[in-house]
């Protein structure tokens, strides 16, 4: 159905895509719709254009809320009202309900928003399992699958139509034509396993903001890969001058002060792949996040070598995300580009700030490997 608003909507999309009114582009922000997944609040990116006004920064004003919690309790992001609300024009009587999302729904939304291709799993023989789903209704079938309610309804309909139904003595007798049976479809479910290996630089130059970016990005990567593979194993490696495998909690919260030797992490990663994910059934996704500083050129050379000879041949895709930090030189991505620019399986992405997360997810997952 076409509506009056379609013109406005098309106009808005044109502006967002930069086709018209270029001067508005600087007011585009990644707005968000918030949903809840269990206890976590997740946000769905949504481009928005904000009309500039004389305003206070929301971070200055704060606000008032309601509920439990002591002074000092941290409010979840997303539960705090964004700025720019409370403007005249908000209508009374707009009931808005909020719903919870499942991981599958989230992944679906993500896929749609970013136009991500579904991943073609690799492996010589794709393992698939057969599974029956009872979804349809048929007129014939075994008695054990008879659909009682439908059959009753058909019989009732027929008897009323034929005038044989007596309200005082409501007996319904189905004959053969009335009978309805459940029927099934066979679905093929891929049985592929995937391993994600996150590697993060935790040297002194990676600040909280940088880690937060990595955290957000890894959440979405997990969500997407989980929707594509049946089993997903996630491993975490942190590194400064030395690399170690850690659990998730430690991964996002440790902070070291040492220098950076990326090769240590790559060696550990390659060993991990060789030891645990050797077979061809595994789809392997290493992701490395760093601010682009490395100890020395020698070490960088070593990194390229490990990547080329050990990691890249074994994995589906190696993704390197460079988070911009005030201290990092950002050299490493250039070295990778120079050294291994021709490699198909290597994906590079520069993440300037939170706004750039969406684009970088698109970079990483957009190839459908």
């Amino acid at each position: 159905m076409t509506q009056k608003i379609d013109a406005d909507r098309a106009r808005f999309r044109h502006i967002v895509r930069g086709k018209v009114r270029q001067n508005l582009r600087r007011f585009i922000s990644q707005g968000e719709i918030f949903g809840k997944k269990g206890k976590d609040v997740v946000s769905i990116p949504l481009p928005q254009i904000q009309i500039p006004r004389f305003f206070y920064g929301h971070k200055q004003t704060g606000g008032v809320g309601q509920g439990e919690g002591e002074v000092g309790t941290v409010l979840q992001p997303g539960s705090v009202e964004g700025q720019g609300t409370g403007q005249a024009g908000s209508d009374p009587g707009e009931h808005v309900l909020e719903a919870e999302l499942t991981i599958e729904e989230l992944a679906e939304i993500l896929g749609e928003e970013l136009e991500l291709p579904r991943i073609e799993p690799r492996g010589k023989h794709r393992l698939e399992a057969e599974k029956s789903r009872y979804t349809g209704i048929h007129r014939s079938g075994p008695e054990s699958l008879r659909h009682f309610k439908r059959t009753y309804k058909e019989a009732l309909k027929r008897q009323i139509a034929a005038g044989g139904y007596d309200l005082n003595r409501p007996v319904v007798v189905p004959i053969r034509e009335d009978k309805r049976y459940r029927s099934w479809k066979t679905a093929w479910i891929p049985e592929c396993n995937a391993a994600v290996i996150y590697i993060m630089d935790v040297s002194g130059s990676m600040g909280d903001e940088q880690k937060e970016i990595v955290r957000i990005e890894s959440f979405w990567i997990d969500t997407w890969l989980q929707s594509q593979y049946q089993g997903l194993e996630v491993r975490y490696i942190t590194h400064d001058a030395a690399a170690r495998e850690v659990d998730r909690e430690t991964f996002f919260h440790t902070r070291e002060s040492g220098g950076t030797m990326i090769s240590s992490a790559y060696t550990l990663c390659a060993d991990m792949i060789a030891a645990d994910y050797g077979g061809a059934e595994w789809n392997i996704y290493p992701f490395h996040f760093s601010d682009g500083d490395n100890w020395s050129n020698d070490d960088t050379r070593l990194c390229l070598e490990i990547l080329k000879n050990r990691i890249l041949p074994a994995c589906n895709q190696f993704s390197y995300g460079q988070v911009e930090s005030p201290y990092g030189s950002g050299q490493f991505i250039k070295d990778l580009r120079e050294g291994l620019g021709g490699e198909d399986k290597l994906t590079l992405s520069e993440i300037r700030d939170r706004e750039a997360i969406v684009q970088s997810i698109r970079d990483f997952l957009g190839k459908g490997r």
């Binding site: 608003i5 719709i33 949903g35 004389f54 206070y56 809320g65 005249a88």
Partner: protein, 507 residues
């Protein structure tokens, strides 16, 4: 689409119940819409037609995605108009429709009776459609980009209106004769100041005739200067620009459209808590006392409680409003107000205080008539209510980059809540000089109340202002505790620190 018959009948029943409770509303016309149409109407701010603009498309995009992903859905919309138009969502369950209709009748009562709506245009439905036609015609003549760009500039200034303007006359209406007839002479009886003398006979020597004449001339000159640059304080910046900015006719037309709509929507922003609270109070009263059948109780309770749900980081106007009306009703039912009650020191006696006044209903009807959110909260949100509602203030902690609960102190929280409601929690900005330094530059003052403007936004807004004024614009504000003058001359932004001596800073 008009209501199907079974709903229309329910609507009549609910209307009669609402009337019997004393609600008083314009005629209400219900329309039933499918979800995409209701999203469109919602994007248009409740109206079936608006002028073409991308922001409605943006709004629609957000609403329809929210709906598609099952994140949110709009149950109903109602607009302040005579007759009131209200929209119901097709496919809602019967109990939801009943609830929504009861809710709508209370909104309409509020629109009709609350004083802050007294000056709103009750034929806005027609005027919105007229605005749409005018803008479409202009866009056809001048091109979409030009028209839309100008509207964007006007929208940047949309919040610079005088919320109280519809209710008071700020300026006496000067007649042409008064304005024209300048009186150069000193009014009779006014004396030119003389130098003090100790002995009367010295006066002709200390204040000779030439000196007096000189003083008189000086005084005249000052008076004329003052008349040339009258002390201006204009909150209605849009109105000021409409009168004084060098605009073409089509620009003036667009500006007046934006201004008119801003004034129309303002009372809805000013009474969000009261309006939603009132509607929630009545949907719950009408449903539980009159309209609910046994089978619907659970569904009603479920829906009602999800509407009342609170999330920690924001105020739910439905919940806060409803609770406050109920609290007031209870206080006036039991006579828990006035000097005697306030001064009662015996806590036990106070807890049991009940004078069986039963004036609660009467009181809340009065409250819905005379208050807006600011005065409503200021007057009735007291320490006892505050404790019950578990309200808190939160602030941004720059060290951890988190939002944290910063206070549970009654005074602090109430102060913060009132601040966020006063002028919609936005800075107060006034035009003070349209001919600054005699160069035709426009000077605005930000009445600084402890918070700085968001600088990048302020600068972008000044660019919009320049597009209307076409001479440099200045904003006098305070930034990082320094008196600052921002200036935009069409090409560059400058910012200089100034002294407080111009008297334009905060007192």
């Amino acid at each position: 689409m008009a209501l199907p018959r079974y709903l229309a009948e329910l609507a009549y029943q609910i209307r009669d119940h609402a009337r019997s409770f004393g609600l008083d509303f314009f005629e209400v016309i219900f329309e039933m819409l499918p979800y995409d149409a209701i999203n469109m109407v919602a994007a248009y701010g409740g109206f079936p037609t608006r002028y073409p603009h991308w922001r409605f498309g943006m709004e629609y995009e957000e609403l329809s995605r929210g709906y598609a992903y099952g994140l949110q859905k709009i149950y109903e919309m109602v607009i302040n108009n005579d007759p009131c138009y209200a929209y119901l969502l097709e496919g809602n369950s019967l109990v939801d429709q009943k609830l929504v209709m009861a809710h709508v009748y209370a909104h309409c009562d509020f629109f009709k009776n609350n004083l802050f709506f007294a000056h709103t245009n009750r034929k806005m439905m027609d005027d919105m459609a007229n605005h749409a036609t005018r803008v479409r015609r202009l866009a056809a003549r001048l091109g979409t980009d030009a028209v839309e760009g100008f509207i964007d500039s006007c929208l940047s200034l949309e919040n610079l209106i005088d919320l109280h303007a519809p209710h008071i006359r700020r300026r006496p209406e000067t007649t042409a004769a008064e304005a024209g007839g300048e009186d150069d002479e000193l009014p009779a009886g006014e004396e030119v100041p003389r130098l003090p003398v100790k002995r009367r006979y010295l006066d002709p020597y200390v204040n000779p005739a030439e000196f007096i004449e000189q003083q008189r001339k000086k005084q005249d000159r000052e008076r004329k200067d003052a008349a040339r640059a009258p002390a201006l304080r204009e909150r209605d910046v849009l109105g000021f620009l409409l009168e004084h900015a060098p605009l073409k006719r089509w620009q003036r037309d667009l500006l007046s459209i934006v201004r008119e709509e801003a004034y129309y929507f303002a009372p809805q922003g000013q009474t969000k808590i009261m309006n939603e609270g009132w509607a929630s109070y009545w949907h719950s009263t009408i449903m539980t006392h009159r309209m609910l059948n046994d089978a619907e109780v659970i569904d009603f309770a479920d829906h009602h409680s999800s509407t009342m749900g609170v999330r920690p980081g924001r105020i739910n106007p439905y919940k806060l409003g409803l609770e406050l009306y109920r609290y007031i009703e209870d206080k006036w039912n039991r006579g828990r107000f006035g000097k005697e009650y306030e001064e009662c020191a015996d806590l036990e006696r106070k807890r049991r205080w009940d004078k069986h006044l039963n004036r609660g209903r009467e009181k809340i009807f009065e409250v819905r008539r005379v208050h807006n959110d600011v005065t409503f909260i200021d007057e009735y949100l007291d320490a006892e209510f505050f404790e019950k509602q578990r309200l808190f203030a939160y602030d941004h902690n720059p060290q951890s980059n988190n939002w944290e609960i910063s206070s549970r102190d009654f005074k602090v929280v109430k102060q913060k809540l009132l601040f966020s409601l006063t002028n919609f929690g936005q800075p107060v900005i006034e035009v003070v000089d349209k001919n600054h330094l005699n160069r035709g530059e426009l000077l605005l003052v930000h009445r600084h109340q402890g918070l700085d403007l968001k600088l990048d936004w302020a600068q972008a807004t000044m660019e919009a202002l320049y597009r209307l004024w076409s001479r440099p614009v200045l904003v006098r504000t305070v930034a990082s505790e320094k008196h600052t003058l921002l200036r935009y001359d069409g090409k560059d932004h400058t910012s200089e620190t100034v002294g407080a001596s111009d008297g334009l800073g905060p007192k």
